[in-house]
């Protein structure tokens, strides 16, 4: 009789209440495999950049909503700023504008003179950079990378690879462009390098980001002529950054007797952590035609190529 009852029970279906689909373990295994393959595709190939761009564009309204509280806060803060403070600021700015105007007059004559001299020597004219004004809307959301997001995108004709500067110096380079925003990788990021020269003695080098708000200048001999406090400016030989923009100041030099190279640490001069306006410099035509969407690594390699070319040009000119 017991056997009969057992058979009866076995014949029954499991009630719907207990049906939970595949077990969490099998689901976990499936989704882990899926995400690992997506990671591999994203890291090795460029298929997913369009998906990402479309998603970011779709996300833009949500982003605007998320940004409104901080914008309101800023507006209210501006509204309640003290009258006295405004008057003082106005006075200081007027004085600054006056000083700049005087300097600009000299600059115009010097520029005209420079063009004239270059034409006498049959040299090339320096590359003219147009620029678009943008504003840092927020830091990158991934604390591992040194990235800021700027409120200008492909709708404002921004292209990947453009140099970005603020009033004090170079900030970095545009690495990803979305329709209304773009990602600027800071010069302190590990992936970015920038061709520089020392302002004092025109020594050329390449500075690499270290990932912790400093720049490293490797491959310089231990007896190199660099002092603490030296200013590093862009050398302009990559064609992306115009020559003479401030990049960083040398803060520490370590000479290790075991290594043939000096360890030179410098800190950037541009205010990358402040909420500030910045300029996105347009790419020169030659580079724009060559690579429409350069990645960081590509532009670095490109920099190296142009360094070599420039050396050649220099030696030719000296003959």
């Amino acid at each position: 009789m017991l056997k009969g009852v057992h058979q009866k029970l076995e014949a029954q279906q499991t009630p719907a209440f207990f049906v939970r689909g595949p077990s969490p373990f099998s689901r976990m295994v499936f989704f882990c495999a899926l995400s690992i393959s997506i990671m591999a595709i994203d890291a090795r190939f460029n298929y997913l950049s369009h998906v990402r761009q479309a998603f970011i564009a779709a996300l833009h309204p949500l982003e605007v909503v998320a940004n409104t509280p901080s914008e309101w806060y800023r507006d209210v803060k501006k509204y309640f700023s003290v009258h006295n403070q405004l008057v003082q600021e106005n006075y200081a700015l007027k004085q600054q504008a006056f000083e700049h105007q005087i300097m600009l007059q000299r600059l115009n004559t010097i520029q005209a003179e420079n063009v004239h001299l270059r034409s006498l020597l049959h040299g090339n004219n320096p590359i003219q950079h147009n620029a678009v004004l943008g504003e840092i809307s927020h830091m990158g959301r991934d604390p591992f990378t040194h990235v800021v997001v700027v409120n200008r995108g492909s709708q404002h004709h921004i292209k990947a690879g453009q140099a970005v500067v603020d009033s004090k110096g170079v900030i970095g380079q545009v690495t990803r462009v979305y329709p209304f925003t773009s990602e600027v990788t800071l010069i302190t990021d590990k992936e970015l390098s920038i061709p520089i020269q020392i302002e004092r003695n025109q020594l050329r080098a390449i500075a690499f980001g270290e990932g912790n708000n400093t720049l490293d200048i490797p491959y310089l001999p231990a007896n190199v002529d660099i002092k603490v406090g030296d200013k590093l400016v862009t050398s302009g030989i990559d064609g992306i950054y115009p020559a003479g923009l401030a990049v960083a100041t040398v803060t520490k030099i370590q000479q290790n007797s075991e290594s043939p190279f000096a360890k030179i640490v410098s800190t950037p001069v541009a205010g990358v952590s402040n909420h500030s306006q910045l300029l996105l410099l347009e790419l020169p035509d030659a580079i724009e035609n060559k690579t429409s969407q350069p990645t960081v690594k590509e532009t670095v390699e490109h920099n190296k190529d142009t360094v070599n070319i420039n050396n050649k040009v220099k030696t030719d000119a000296s003959h």
Partner: protein
């Protein structure tokens, strides 16, 4: 436990996404809790019939897309955490508040460690101890979720 609708789950996940998108300027980003993960864990533990490993994976993928990080890394860490969360889900009614917080603490540590491993594989540096701050701020957010939507432990009947 009260009945929850699918609508509430997705609405709170959307709000979490919005919080994830809040602009952060300066060093405060170190303390930012993982909004998406906390809300996900809450629904995973409370209504596993509505929110499962697949939901966690999708949420992770959306976070990846929004943050611009390597696609699939949040998806991976979220699905592993969701699996661990679900494996003890039926025993949660026996836990008291402190035990539940400890359980969530362990889950958040798991997510951070998986993420750290992925980041190290990618070639990033060791970020230092401040990388684990979001666990503590996340626990605060967890208590807030419990205040908002009610606890997970069985109310005392005697």
């Amino acid at each position: 436990m009260r009945h929850t609708s699918l609508f509430t789950v997705y609405l709170t996940l959307l709000i979490a996404m919005l919080c994830q998108l809040f602009p952060w300027i300066g060093q405060g980003i170190i303390f930012r809790p993982d909004f998406m993960l906390i809300v996900l864990l809450y629904w995973l533990l409370r209504a596993p019939n509505l929110c499962n490993v697949g939901t966690a994976w999708l949420a992770g993928l959306l976070v990846d897309l929004a943050t611009g990080s390597l696609l699939g890394q949040h998806a991976l860490s979220f699905s592993i955490t969701a699996f661990v969360a679900l494996s003890y889900q039926r025993r949660l009614v026996l836990f008291n508040t402190l035990q539940l917080v400890a359980y969530v603490f362990i889950l958040l540590i798991i997510e951070r460690v998986v993420m750290l491993l992925l980041k190290l594989f990618e070639g990033n540096d060791n970020p230092g101890w401040h990388y684990f701050w979001p666990i503590l701020t996340g626990l605060l957010l967890w208590q807030f979720m419990i205040l908002m939507f009610g606890g997970l432990t069985r109310p005392k009947t005697n």
